[in-house]
């Protein structure tokens, strides 16, 4: 029998687990076209029967538990934050509670209507007008037509798109698009609202508006489950938080305590010795990555415009001396787009014979990145013979936050660009034809 608490709780989860099968990339590429074809044909022949074949030993699949034995109880009206690193299982948990995916093991109960907002603008269609999209999106989120009609004006007003209601959404600016999509979701009146990190988009004033809306939405006994990487948002919105690490509940308690624990955890997270997804011969291995200030102090987060040392501690196990080493880093944004790369040959640095232990240090003066999370990948390779020694994609994630790039002003919001550049403005004379300088053609 469920306990009396469970009888009144808004959400009860018991032993929720989710298993995924991940296919490993083969170490060796196909040796020849013939091999590739042979394997391809073999797989094609097998493909129709695969659902009935029990195991497939060849494909080298491995079980991966995205979530294991997660349990908690949330009372009606509680606002609970869920924190954890990428891949800790936050999104999987929300997807299970939203009934998008089925748990592999365990069970959960929810009391009342659940609305989940895992992404801003799911189902928004660019060819449709704002008006049409409000109806479509509302229906997709589980609203009735009459309900949407009743709240239509409110939604439009909140989104600030009155003038563009009959314009196809594909002509909207990205800000308008996000406002429209969020506005529909914000006017749902669910008993339980599940929100994934959807506020990372949009400008700051709108983010604030959304947060206020969410707070008021959850005022009347509604329950909120909120995932964010932004700890200050979590702290201001949620009194209780759940910290997920490697698919398990690492801590469940008051938000302050959880956030402290989470930051302590992040400090140790730069240790790479346990990572198994490396590529390369392994003669040289990067064991730890840290970010340090000019003065050598370790950094939790970097401010835009700050001078930062990216330090890759390595160990060199090669029996013969290694020369002509190239150390390269690439920084991607969360969406996986590369932002920049650096390697030692760009500055003409030759390390000579590599010692057994040491650090590759890349100093970046005035980091030109806007506030966001970034991922760092590295490649240690030979320059002349192009041997790959060690490579790790998304080795660490780091946060850029704060101000400082522009001494006199706040940086434009992230939606205007992820890199920051210096620019110097002046007022010029009115330009007419005569004022243009003749193009100089060098002979």
């Amino acid at each position: 029998m469920p306990s009396s608490d469970a009888m009144t709780a808004a959400i009860v989860a018991e032993g929720l687990s989710k298993k995924y099968l991940i296919a490993h990339q083969r170490e060796q590429a196909d040796l020849s076209l013939r091999d590739a074809l042979a394997r391809g044909v073999g797989q094609c022949l097998k493909a129709p029967f695969r659902p009935w074949l029990k195991g497939d030993p060849e494909s080298g699949r491995e079980e991966f538990w995205a979530l294991s034995e997660v349990g908690f109880e949330i009372r009606p009206g509680e606002r609970v934050g869920i924190v954890g690193r990428n891949g800790a299982g936050k999104s999987t948990l929300l997807k299970i509670l939203s009934r998008i995916v089925e748990p592999t093991r365990g069970r959960f109960s929810v009391r009342g209507r659940v609305a989940s907002l895992l992404e801003v603008g799911t189902g928004v269609h660019g060819e449709l007008t704002g008006r049409e999209n409000i109806y479509l999106n509302g229906a997709l989120l589980g609203m009735r037509k009459a309900e949407i009609r009743r709240k239509f004006d409110e939604i439009v007003q909140f989104a600030e798109v009155e003038r563009f209601l009959d314009t196809p959404v594909k002509r909207y600016s990205s800000g308008m698009y996000v406002r429209l999509a969020f506005s529909v979701a914000a006017h749902l009146e669910p008993d339980i609202l599940i929100v994934d990190e959807v506020l990372a988009v949009g400008d700051i004033s709108f983010q604030k508006k959304c947060l206020e809306k969410m707070e008021s939405v959850t005022g009347g006994g509604r329950t909120l489950l909120f995932v964010s990487h932004n700890m200050s948002t979590v702290a201001s919105l949620c009194s209780r938080s759940i910290f997920l690490a490697n698919g398990r509940v690492a801590l469940d308690g008051p938000t302050d305590a959880v956030i402290n624990e989470y930051f302590a955890f992040l400090d140790n997270a730069c240790d790479l010795s346990t990572r198994t997804d490396r590529k390369g011969t392994g003669e040289v291995r990067v064991t730890r990555i840290s970010l340090r200030s000019e003065a050598g102090a370790p950094l939790n987060a970097v401010a835009p415009g700050q001078t930062v040392d990216i330090c890759l501690a390595f160990s060199n196990r090669s029996p013969q001396p290694l020369r002509g080493i190239r150390s390269m880093i690439t920084v991607h944004n969360r969406q996986g787009q590369p932002i920049f790369s650096q390697h030692n040959q760009l500055s003409g640095t030759d390390y000579g014979a590599l010692p057994e232990q040491g650090e590759f240090i890349c100093r970046i003066p005035r980091l030109p990145l806007n506030s966001a999370f970034y991922k760092l990948s590295y490649t240690i390779s030979g320059f002349g013979d192009s041997t790959l020694y060690d490579q790790l994609a998304d080795a660490i994630e780091f946060k850029v936050a704060g101000t400082g790039f522009f001494p006199n002003a706040r940086a434009p919001s992230n939606s205007y660009g992820q890199t920051l550049v210096d620019g110097y403005w002046r007022l010029g004379e009115p330009a007419d034809q005569g004022n243009y300088a003749e193009p100089v053609i060098s002979s």
Binding site: Y20, S116, P168
Partner: protein, 276 residues
Amino acid sequence: MSELPLLTIEAGKTERHYWQDLWRYRELFYFLAWRDILVRYKQTILGILWALIRPVLTMLVFTVIFGRIAKLPSEGDVPYPILVFSAMLPWQFFANAFSDAGNSLIANANMITKVYFPRLIIPASAVIVSFVDFLIASVILVGLMLWYGHQPDWKLIALPGFVLMAAAAAFGAGLWVSALNVKYRDFRHVIPFIVQFGLYISPVGFSSSVIPDQWRLIYSLNPLAGIIDGFRWALLGSASTLNQDALLLSGGIIVIVLLSGLLFFRSTEKGFADVI
């Protein structure tokens, strides 16, 4: 708070609320179909005319090839264009509904991974969209009948039954293919093949009376044969006869395809978001 409905989801157990949910989300059927129709004809010059152009051109080609060049017999004194178009209508309905339903889950993959709703709505609304096209194209048949002065008789009242059969066949087959498509994209290539192949083995360009009697039953294993014969029987008046055994066979196969499609879809549905 305790008067709020409690929903419990347990690993490996099918939920009891599925059909209830389907009812709760009934408006989404309408909205998805409405979206697809709106989107299809936006930024087009000819707009809704496209629903007419395809069947008309195919009808012309078939009339010339089968009627004039191959000189196949019509049914009684029915003009060949009407014979072809009365089959073109259910065939196009089936073909469009089947291929749209078959591709519908993949086309809406983004929704499937981000929002919960009974997935059955997606292929079902694809069938509804094709039904709208079917209604539009029916206008041409009415026009043809007026032009040739051909009048249907009382058997016309049976027509909705055959429309329902076509919808059920397309939905059932679409359920199979759409669910398989989620995991094995091979089936995306199977769809145009089935549609193309089906056009040749179904009596669209010719009357099924050209099929020798001893082969008639085997021919009706193709459910479209029964549907098309039914359409012609209901529309073409006394000239057309209905082979009852063949119709029952077609109907039985449609029921099997539909029920098995529903079962297969329901049993794989929960994994869609994981593999799509």
